[in-house]
Symmetry: C2
């Protein structure tokens, strides 16, 4: 069976490489994505506590939103009627929606998986729903993001038999997603699964690559396995996926993970971590986290990070941020989210520059060494 | 006893009048306040859910903060150590702190009032504290706002005997506040009380005016009395207070109240209403409120107010705002606060222009007529 793919609205050009790391431009109908990139997550059509203006101020570009959440609330039909997700949430730059697969398996109450799809109950009101590959694509076409994802099954990383079974479904569903897709202004990415099993990962990457997607995602990582296992899986997949298409490592977003991912050929990252940590009082820096609720910060006149150029670090002290947290003021989430997202967006920018300048490997080595030293110092304290 | 007043850092110039309404400039160490003005409230050293940048974007100028709250948390000594309130919360324009009097009487648990001051228990942890006029001034000097307030007692509006007793204390405390004040870069305003009793209001206004404060506040209104009673009290006070000093109507902030206040010689207003309503899903317009959680807005593509030029109305639909509210997203409070505050700040700007142009009385008459018609239409529906 021949499946027609039109990727006319999309193109990926690699501008520079250093060993496995690469920097490039992925062109979309809503603008160019310079890779490697970190995408903030706007689960319910909003990056929590930030306006689009504040996102633009920290140079956010690609923003992710969640199919499962938007299908349930406000409904993808409503979003379509309001002109689509870009118009609805007023984000004029590139957007990506996931397939709903991960949330169905992680958030929904009672779910029943069969070869055709998944029946589940909403985590909001317990109402019953069914996702199939065709339904996931239909929802994502209603939402209208630039990049959409194939419907997949994310199995627990260490269960081999379950991963084999889930992989078969994920592969069959990938083909059905390609067939179901109608809109020409969206790029559908396939997803590689396979837990922590190198042979399954290789099989999956080779199969998914054979389907001719304009981009590939690596799913089922950062879900409980070790960093070493994640990096090993990335290396397996890196060597199987075509080099001329972008690779997206789903749900991964610490500074260390960005460096390790780029070293293994990854182009796109996303994670709720920066905004979730912010709502729990934790500020990210390149070498660790500050829990700003600690009393030690109550009279600390320094910014979160003296080397950071974000709005929060330019104007506000740790003492003020701690006061906002203790007083339960919403502004703390906003200001720390600005800082945390800026940290990852700025790191991605630095990575792009270093690759272009042929200095990334040295930069990555220094970065990881420094991180090791910081961890060692902390563990001795 | 002669009390020395230095107001060298402050001056009030009236630029234009129309009957009792006036527009002018009150100069402070942190910039000029163009009156009539509406001051957003930043209770705990933050206007809830907004960054100072967002406040500046809607042309906020004077911002109020609360002595009672900041004394309890994070402590006025800490704020002083961090460089004062302007520096701490990064608001570079004029600021005003209240005296803590109103909160002690409205928020604190068990309180005991005597001639010297008030002993009360914190609403946060039940700990015991004591405010006197001298303590209130000392706290406000630590905080360092441009305008500070005399410590007063706000009695229930309809209790005559209580009001007489509270007035005697308020007047004695006003004199003690003047004596206690040391900083020359702060303007201390006296507060007129007297419930809904014209003779008490007149007595209070005349006494407070005799003390030579650089500005006067009208307290104890908008606390349960009718609009007619409030307006009557404003008229009594208006004719007793010196015209060459600014008048501040405390805690008042609907569009109608601004118009009615300015018609009766008021220059400064503040209220938590715009931001409090925003957190409870209500958007303010000049002619009423929209409760954006209503299902009727779920597919409404209009902005809150088609005549509004704020960020929220320029970009976001009622449908999107309703989605944020239903999904319990913090961004709804931010976006509606921007709109609500902009509505009052923009109205104050319009009032200033109309007074300068000699058109305010006509504008006010039309405004109040239109409001009446809207209310009549709504009550017939």
């Amino acid at each position: 069976m021949e499946i027609q793919h039109s990727h006319a609205n999309f193109s990926f050009e690699i501008l520079a490489r250093q060993n496995r790391a690469r920097t490039g431009i992925f062109k979309t109908p809503h603008g160019d994505i310079f890779t490697p990139i970190f995408a903030p997550v706007g689960t319910q059509a909003t990056v929590k506590s930030l306006t689009p203006q504040q996102l633009a101020d920290i140079h956010a570009n690609l923003v992710l939103s969640n199919t499962y959440h938007l299908y349930l609330r406000p409904g993808d039909d409503l979003v379509a009627e309001m002109g689509g997700l870009h118009q609805f949430m007023q984000w004029p730059r590139p957007m990506l929606t996931d397939s709903g697969g991960f949330q169905v398996f992680s958030l929904a109450q009672t779910r029943k998986i069969d070869a055709d799809g998944v029946t589940f109950k909403s985590h909001i009101d317990g109402s019953s729903h069914r996702f199939t590959p065709e339904k996931s694509i239909a929802i994502q076409e209603n939402l209208g993001a630039d990049i959409i994802m194939a419907f997949d099954e994310c199995a627990p990383p260490y269960e081999r038999a379950y991963n084999q079974q889930a992989l078969a479904r994920t592969h069959a569903w990938a083909e059905r997603c390609l067939q179901a897709k109608k809109r020409q202004d969206q790029a559908l990415f396939g997803i590689v699964q396979g837990g922590i099993f190198p042979d399954l990962r290789q099989e999956s990457a080779e199969f998914i690559a054979s389907l001719g997607f304009p981009g590939h995602a690596i799913g089922g990582l950062s879900v409980g396995e070790t960093k070493e296992e994640m990096n090993q899986m990335l290396e397996v997949v890196d060597h199987c996926l075509p080099e001329d298409k972008p690779r997206y490592l789903m749900g991964v977003g610490t500074p260390e993970d960005l460096i390790q991912g780029v070293l293994r050929g990854v182009d796109i990252f996303d994670c709720v971590l920066p905004t979730r940590l912010a709502r729990h009082h934790a500020a990210m820096t390149l070498t660790g986290r500050l829990n700003l609720i600690n009393a030690s910060f109550s009279r600390d006149e320094r910014p979160i990070d003296e080397n950071c150029s974000c709005y929060t670090c330019q104007y506000f002290t740790r003492a003020y941020l701690r006061h906002l947290i203790v007083a339960k003021e919403m502004l703390s989430a906003t200001l720390i989210s600005i800082h945390n997202l800026h940290t990852l967006l700025h790191l991605a920018e630095e990575i792009r520059s270093r690759i272009s300048a042929g200095q990334f490997e040295e930069y990555a080595t220094n970065f990881l060494n420094e991180l090791e030293q910081t961890k060692a110092t902390k563990s001795r304290q």
